[in-house]
Symmetry: C2
Subunit: 549 residues, 2 copies
Amino acid sequence: MSEEDRLRIVPLGGVGEIGKNMMALEYGEDMLLIDAGLMFPETDMLGIDIVIPDISYVTQQAERLRAIILTHGHEDHIGALPYVLSKVEAPVYGTKLTLGLAEVKLREHHLQDRVQMRTIQPRDVLTLGPFSVEFFHVCHSIPDTVGLAITTPVGLVVHSGDFKFDPHPMDGQLTDFAKLQELGERGVLLLLSDSTNAELPGFTPSEKRVGETLDRVFSAAPGRVIVATFASNVSRVQQVIGTAQRYGRRVGFVGRSMVKNMRMASQLGYLGIGPDELLTPEEMNGLPDERVVIVCTGSQGEPTSALARMAMGEERHITLRRGDTVILSAEPIPGNEELINHTIDNLFRAGADVHYHLLSDVHVSGHGSQEDQRLMLNLTRPRYFVPIHGEYRHLVLHSRLAQQSGIPDQNIFVVESGQALELSAEACRLGERVAASHVLVDGLGVGDVGHVVLRDRHQLARDGFLVAIVALDMDSGEILVEPEILSRGFVYMRDSERLIELAREQVWQALEHVGPRSAVSAKIKDALGELCYQQTGRRPIILPVVMEV
Amino acid sequence: MSEEDRLRIVPLGGVGEIGKNMMALEYGEDMLLIDAGLMFPETDMLGIDIVIPDISYVTQQAERLRAIILTHGHEDHIGALPYVLSKVEAPVYGTKLTLGLAEVKLREHHLQDRVQMRTIQPRDVLTLGPFSVEFFHVCHSIPDTVGLAITTPVGLVVHSGDFKFDPHPMDGQLTDFAKLQELGERGVLLLLSDSTNAELPGFTPSEKRVGETLDRVFSAAPGRVIVATFASNVSRVQQVIGTAQRYGRRVGFVGRSMVKNMRMASQLGYLGIGPDELLTPEEMNGLPDERVVIVCTGSQGEPTSALARMAMGEERHITLRRGDTVILSAEPIPGNEELINHTIDNLFRAGADVHYHLLSDVHVSGHGSQEDQRLMLNLTRPRYFVPIHGEYRHLVLHSRLAQQSGIPDQNIFVVESGQALELSAEACRLGERVAASHVLVDGLGVGDVGHVVLRDRHQLARDGFLVAIVALDMDSGEILVEPEILSRGFVYMRDSERLIELAREQVWQALEHVGPRSAVSAKIKDALGELCYQQTGRRPIILPVVMEV
């Protein structure tokens, strides 16, 4: 494989992890980016708002970037776009709804005027440098999702996007079986395919299955129906609106992101009702209960979401009452179960009847299960296979399916983000590793919180801190005033007078036997650390401050 | 209902919440306690080790306490025993294994010699003051579990314990159908029944179902088999040992609590092998791989558990390798999914083959599902029903089953911990509310961490803290040295020189326009809070210290 005519595939996120999907495709002097997603922080990323990919690999060679291609409008595929576009310039390609949702994000960052957005449709073919990119429709939990067939100088690369083979999609648009089969006949060098549901047997059920549950619940509901789902699950909201219309109910939205996204989806014609037809909060309360449907955020129990606020009796416009019916139309994302359970408990306490995933078919996934994945493999019949979009175990399980489909073990590459692959028409091998770790966004800071700050936050979260301040006479070294002890998150200070007194004594003692002035701080720190542990079994962060006055 | 001849039932934990099960039964001058469990902290209880019931209600009338009765040996039923017995005195009744596990706990607190432990057997009848307590066997995920039939002056109260109707229990001991039916015929005034699995349809499968999976996995495993489960799931460990013996493998334990509990279970004769037959760590590594089974802690992905350490390559004795087979023989407890997923990913990365709940029948619950609950209701046919052992939604769903079984709505009481119930032979009504909240144990502190400390820990976890120290001349009010700025968990200090400089300037400015000396601190705090938010979008805890020297 010569250096010049190799294709490089560089996963920068979303491989071996969930979310922040991003991948670079390179050939010669040209580079494409596929998706620019964010992920939500893991539990141990304390205080972090969102997590985006490290794009230093891209910014270092920004002049090679020809385009950013978006497969669909979910956060984990478009959420990092503002951060990427504030560093590099490139036109952004996507379907109408995808770009609509991307624009909502860019507006929040005041970037909408600086970016070229180019709308594509399934079956469109774009020429971008040495690449010819053909879009094909796939079913997912949001309309207008596409996969990519990229003709490169070394062969055809198929990127599945997020997909499932829904036999009865809400918008009537099937995954493009014909195109996939045609690609398979043309000859696929490499398939990159969605691994998210590699743990689940069978086919993922049709979105239609949720419609049956909605029908059953709506037909029995005596009062208001409140449906919580993801603010980006446009397909689900379409279904709720359709069901509401059949039962003579009108629909309003609650929750910032839901209102914003659905206003846009409605304007673009995806919801089947115009923005003017949506209920205002006043109308939600003014209409008879049996004519009202409220669609809101909070299906993951997020404490500040509309549903959690309703459950706690803290939502400004909506007060729950007996007779209300709540549907949590989602499944828990791992890590959110406890918050969701608390919300469900509070909804029951408020008197509502609650339908959730353990009791009813209130949700189906937008990702294909094992049989969908197998079908994708068998339609495209790739020479090489790389499982993407999943955590490590999903990649392993997906690779087992590929083996069962007849792809030789040595042609399957289970890699993680940052591990480049190099392809020629005859070979595929591991390339170099590039930087592809997490960039943590905390408030206004992008990447300024790292290992040290997080480690301190962990210790602070567990045991708090204690600061001891001593003022010494610069010349004599004498202590000028009683040492000051401050603490938060360690013990309840008002009830801890004795401990504080002991701490002061430790400081005095440490200073009594003082050797060189520079050793004073370390001595105080050790003495106080030991005292705290011995008295409480806790290890707060200890900061001694010696001021020479 | 006269004050004297009423029976009081006071749930002190485990009703409307999972864990820390504890309930008081009172009549006249006598009180019984049923169970004394702990719960593990919820995610937002930062830094907390365990959570125990508030027993102030019991300690205030300690002289009335006749006995503590334990239904079985799980942490959520016996874990608070050392804390309770350090405050009140009473004999403890339980089956052999239950008391064995309780003794392990008491030893840790050096209380074993101060407590009277009295072993009972199913069908035993105890007279305790006005109560006659009959024990009956129920199936659960630990042998020697009992329910209670308590004859009181007002009628018969049945407490199910944690139960399921396993048709094929490991130890051959069925739940005591005959006794339950007899109780039903005798006439049950009140049933208190386990609600944990009220969300799940059907009967909970037999523990035997796991045996089939173990057989399948053991017969195909090329090397070592590593099984992670709860340290208290004695039934599961019994099965693993039985399977190991059939496949000519020997068994060793790894993980502190597993080793301790199983040594005791082995000594008492529950494991079918003596303590001497267990593999030492050296033997685990010395024997051929295909003769070794390791049973360990870590089925919930706990970061310091044996399995998580193995997955990270940090376990002292066991280093994973290709050919190892790992079984996570448990289901995720809500809140632990993320940790479990990380562990599974790391196990796959280490080259092991991993079997877990999404892929195989590696676990069945020890709690009955809806049909078990229904059967309990229909065998005992109680006049009044109170769902216990479950979070609020479980209680609501269990109460719906009771309604379906013909118990009138007004005879069903969905209450939460602390809500007393008063019964006569003819009536049941809500009594007073008593203190029954959480007592948080953090290190050596029992109950000293409360709302204020937790709130501070939350803020510290999210945004850290910043301390500004100024030394003023006591007389002139002049600043004596450059203000000192300290911070942790807020920004990375080494990269934040400019921010620290700005903070110092704010302090100078605040002091320049100083009014009364007492207002200086508040002024500095406001100025720095604003600076931090404006520069970083974060809100650290700000502590100004003004020292007058």
